[in-house]
């Protein structure tokens, strides 16, 4: 009898606490109906040297840039507040429509409020010879990460 009250309160508190945890966990879905973070971007021969390729921008928010030595993948998210910049081929720059940030084809910021360059994604060759881009690994210029071998695909 003497223990029934504390045990009752303990059980009640535990039930309340676990309901709270369950409610909070409910807000985090297990499956997302979003495009995958990694995707295969075709064969290297499908890209023209010196061009910023915009074919994957709508689906995966990534530009693939082909240079004479190889490839890098830029993530199409402005480093100011997260809008999607556009590639303006005539002016050879990325321009963000939200607040006017501008980036060179390399991803380096040169105008507007963006505080740092665009981020690059991991880019490697898959076993079947296709280019594999993985946005879950990001490389930031200001941290010196663009020299990482997976930030630039040498051909």
């Amino acid at each position: 009898m003497i223990w029934s009250l504390p045990i009752g309160w303990a059980a009640f508190s535990a039930a309340c606490a676990s309901s709270l945890v369950a409610t909070a966990r409910f807000l985090f879905p297990n499956v997302l109906f979003e495009p995958p973070q990694a995707f295969k971007a075709g064969f290297p021969g499908e890209y023209n040297v010196g061009e910023v390729d915009t074919r994957w921008k709508d689906a995966f928010s990534v530009w693939i840039v082909r240079q004479p030595e190889g490839f890098y993948a830029l993530i199409a998210v402005c480093t100011h507040l997260g809008c999607s910049p556009n590639w303006l081929a005539a002016e050879a720059k990325f321009k963000c429509p939200c607040h006017g940030s501008g980036f060179y084809a390399s991803g380096i910021n040169f105008e507007g409020p963006a505080p740092r360059p665009l981020e690059r994604a991991r880019i490697v060759l898959a076993d079947d010879g296709q280019i594999l881009v993985d946005k879950s690994t990001k490389f930031q210029f200001e941290k010196g990460e663009w020299t990482n071998p997976e930030a630039f695909l040498k051909i």
Partner: protein
Amino acid sequence: MATNATKPPEPFLTRTWDYITDTQIWKSIFRHGMPSTSRNRVLVVMTNVFLHLHPVKIRKSGVRLKFTWCMGGLTFFLFLVETFTGLLLMFYYRPTVAYAYMDIIDLAEQVPLGIMREIHRWGAHAMVITVWLHMFRVFMTGSYKPPREFNWNVGVILLVLTLLLSFTGYLLPWDQLAIWAITVGSNMARATPLLGYEGPGAQLLALGDVKMVHAGSDARFALLGGRFVGEGALLRFYVLHCVGIPLIAGILMAVHFWRVRKDGGISGPV
């Protein structure tokens, strides 16, 4: 017998009125007759669930338009307008990526009284303005001082809820302005202390090398239901806009009005 004969019969309307007010239905609803005496006025207010939130008596000087600007009342009126027009909009609007934008166009161009969404939008703008003016008035008249300090805090929360209603409603038209405005706005949640993956202290919450707080588990993710503003965000903002926030705001408004009475009515001019 003669005295009876000289008394004229009651007019028809008076007799009908007396009959209606004598029925059990009438008396079960209105228990205290006409509020013609001081005592009856108090009783009428106290026994009505809506009226009892308000003070029985207030100073004549306290309700002068020059003193209150009527901004608190106007804010509540606008909240009712938003509730009513919002309810009507819900009959047509579907919060999905496929339908949302087209339903907004449909509301403007095909649905009768195509101005309904504009009324909702103008009302929302007006409500933000009246809330600020109400707070300005309360501040300038010193009405936030004891014993009203608790009610000031309830009011501050109601201000935040009003702004959150505007923020969540902003996304629902699902046009470019909406999507990018909410993208920019919700990116702030990334910097939440501890709970945002770019916020201070987020690095501390890790089990060895495994981060507990990352882009797929932080405060922004819970708000948007995804890594970016998409289907999940639209539905979450819709539910918060139509049910979650109005419910909390409604409860706090009841507390707010009731505390005006409990804290001594509308404060007098300084």
